[in-house]
């Protein structure tokens, strides 16, 4: 501290300010709790379907469900969605907790978010839906598009230490 500006925060204060913690690909930031496909389907219908379509096919807003095959250069960009394009399962929890339902984020419990994540992964053909999602299971889900992901070569040149999780 060289300028003596800013006020130190206690760990408690940091926790209070950290309303929608960032979830990291290794699972840090995931809360206790869990949820499965069935509750997910129910919550989805209630809280999400009006914007993302009955089964996640999209409209008026983003498509959420795709084939579980990663995209190819021929895939229309309107088809890009969780199943074929998302590369990390943890992103789902992170984003739904921080931003959804749109305009009313923060209104879902941790269990509800886990359930929605479980349903969306299942609906996208990525999981078989048998396992509830929680802080242990979610980070282990393998996303098909991850196999296609590489670091931009220019970024690699500039930051040789940088590795994708």
């Amino acid at each position: 501290a060289r300028y003596h500006l800013g006020t130190p925060l206690t760990p408690e204060q940091v926790g209070q300010y950290d309303l929608r913690p960032a979830v990291l690909p290794d699972g840090r930031g995931l809360p206790p709790g869990q949820g499965g496909v069935e509750e997910g389907a129910r919550i989805y219908a209630e809280r999400c379907a009006s914007c993302h379509g009955k089964s996640g096919e999209g409209y008026p807003f983003n498509r959420l469900v795709a084939e579980p095959f990663p995209i190819t250069p021929e895939t229309e960009s309107s088809q890009f969605a969780i199943g074929n394009y998302w590369q990390y399962p943890t992103t789902l929890f992170d984003y739904i907790r921080r931003a959804m339902p749109y305009g009313n984020a923060g209104s879902l419990s941790a269990d509800e978010v886990y359930a929605l994540v479980a349903w969306l992964l299942y609906q996208n053909g990525i999981t078989d839906g048998s396992q509830p999602m929680n802080a242990q299971t979610l980070p282990k889900v393998a996303m098909p598009a991850r196999a296609l992901l590489q670091l931009d070569p220019e970024t690699h040149k500039r930051f040789p230490w940088l590795k994708l999780p």
């Binding site: 501290a1 060289r2 300028y3 800013g6 300010y17 690909p25 309107s78 992103t91 970024t155």
Partner: protein
């Protein structure tokens, strides 16, 4: 008499040298002093372009009207917009920035405290990774304008505190590698930023062209990440988590991840490639034969623009344009080339070169590398065709293959479904 005849004839050929209205302002007193000036009412139609699809969207983008502007400064009211949860209204009194995670002392700053730190003012462009998205259309849109071609880019003089100073104030732990900045908008927008870049030149900015940031650009505080894609320059910045891993947020995985022609997905394509756009003459303008100054803008995320070339024969030969000083790093540069149009059909191309030796590809070259269904980082040469009637239209060549239009992505023009 003989010498005067030709000018006389020219004067008479014109409808009228001036109008009654020309002299009107001499006759009455004008307006008194005013506290905050507004534009002339005659300029009211110089506005950002909002796609008809997106007029009421709180997640979308609008475009700076590049061909209506002069010089390199983008007026604050016309800086392009891109947001994912609407423009929040933030009270500067209750505003806070928190730095926490892998630091010795988590700190909270008020706006006043941020302003007390040593400050830096620099002119930087900010460009959406989705800029140029209309270039993915095939066949090209004949009615493209410079605005719709490259208007998701703007240039301003930003003032703020170097992020490095704030991080040092909190004290970095040795494991720290990444920063996760977060916005105070309705989607708590987040991205991952390598600590190295932050220590180099990232600003925690609170002013834009001399005055406080505009709400659309993050009032009261945003990140400015020189030369990098706009989407990483988090607005309405409420906190920065210092950590050892990137978060792989929605906006760095389901958006702003690039689909390449070889089937690969590229993560973290942060640096914006060199770019240029002729703003005059440009799409939907109409010109007369005679003298014109070809004008345009160039910029590059790799540093300074070194030269801009203009071709009148689709790249077989090139003429070097003048660059208006000062030519700053990671900032718009105005290029100019005097030109006499003889009234014959012509296609104009421009390409920028930066200090790293990078330049712009043709459309064909671009798509050899980038996927046809990608939505980002299009920086191929923009061509303008001038027909003998003086009309300017999109001169881009159609590509082989299927007809297509981009969907999703930065949301500049199309529904994101």
């Amino acid at each position: 008499g003989g010498v005067l005849l030709s000018p006389l004839l020219k004067a008479q050929a014109q409808p009228k040298a001036w109008e009654e209205k020309t002299l009107e302002p001499l006759r009455t007193l004008g307006s008194p002093l005013s506290e905050y000036g507004e534009r002339s009412p005659f300029e009211a139609e110089v506005v950002r372009y909002i796609s008809p699809n997106l007029r009421t969207r709180t997640s979308g983008a609008d475009f700076t009207p590049l061909e209506r502007l002069s010089g390199v400064i983008t007026p604050n009211g016309l800086h392009f917009e891109r947001h994912h949860g609407g423009v929040p209204q933030v009270d500067p009194q209750s505003y806070r920035l928190v730095i926490h995670g892998l630091v010795e002392t988590p700190l909270v700053f008020t706006l006043e405290e941020l302003r007390r730190f040593p400050s830096v003012t620099r002119t930087y462009f900010i460009e959406c990774a989705g800029n140029g998205q209309n270039g993915y259309r095939n066949p090209p849109d004949p009615n493209l304008t410079a605005t719709r071609s490259r208007g998701l880019a703007s240039n301003a003089s930003w003032t703020g505190v170097p992020l490095a100073l704030l991080l040092k104030e909190a004290g970095l732990r040795p494991e720290a590698r990444w920063l996760i900045p977060e916005g105070v908008d309705a989607v708590a927008y987040t991205r991952s930023l390598p600590l190295d870049k932050a220590m180099e030149d990232v600003l925690v900015a609170y002013a834009q062209n001399g005055e406080a940031l505009r709400p659309e650009q993050g009032y009261p505080v945003r990140l400015v990440v020189p030369g990098w894609e706009g989407s990483i320059q988090v607005k309405w910045l409420r906190r920065i988590l210092v950590t050892d891993l990137p978060t792989m947020s929605k906006d760095e995985t389901s958006e702003y991840t690039d689909v390449m022609a070889d089937g690969k997905l590229l993560a973290f394509t942060w640096i914006m490639d060199p770019e240029s756009i002729i703003t005059y003459p440009s799409g939907l303008q109409r010109i007369q034969p005679g003298f014109h100054e070809i004008r345009g803008l160039a910029w590059s995320g790799y540093g300074r623009i070194r030269k801009v070339e203009v071709s009148f024969d689709e790249g077989r030969s090139w003429r070097q344009a003048d660059l208006e000083p000062p030519v700053e790093r990671h900032a718009f540069v105005r290029f100019k080339l005097p030109w006499y149009w003889d009234g014959r059909e012509v296609v104009l191309w421009s390409r920028a070169w930066d200090e790293g030796g990078n330049t712009q590809p043709t459309r064909e070259e671009f798509f050899r590398k980038w996927g046809r269904n990608n939505r980002y980082h299009y920086n191929a040469i923009q061509a303008w065709r001038i027909t003998p009637d003086g009309r300017v239209t999109n001169g881009d060549r159609p590509l082989g293959g299927v007809a297509q239009r981009p969907a999703g992505g930065c949301g500049g023009e199309v529904f994101d479904v």
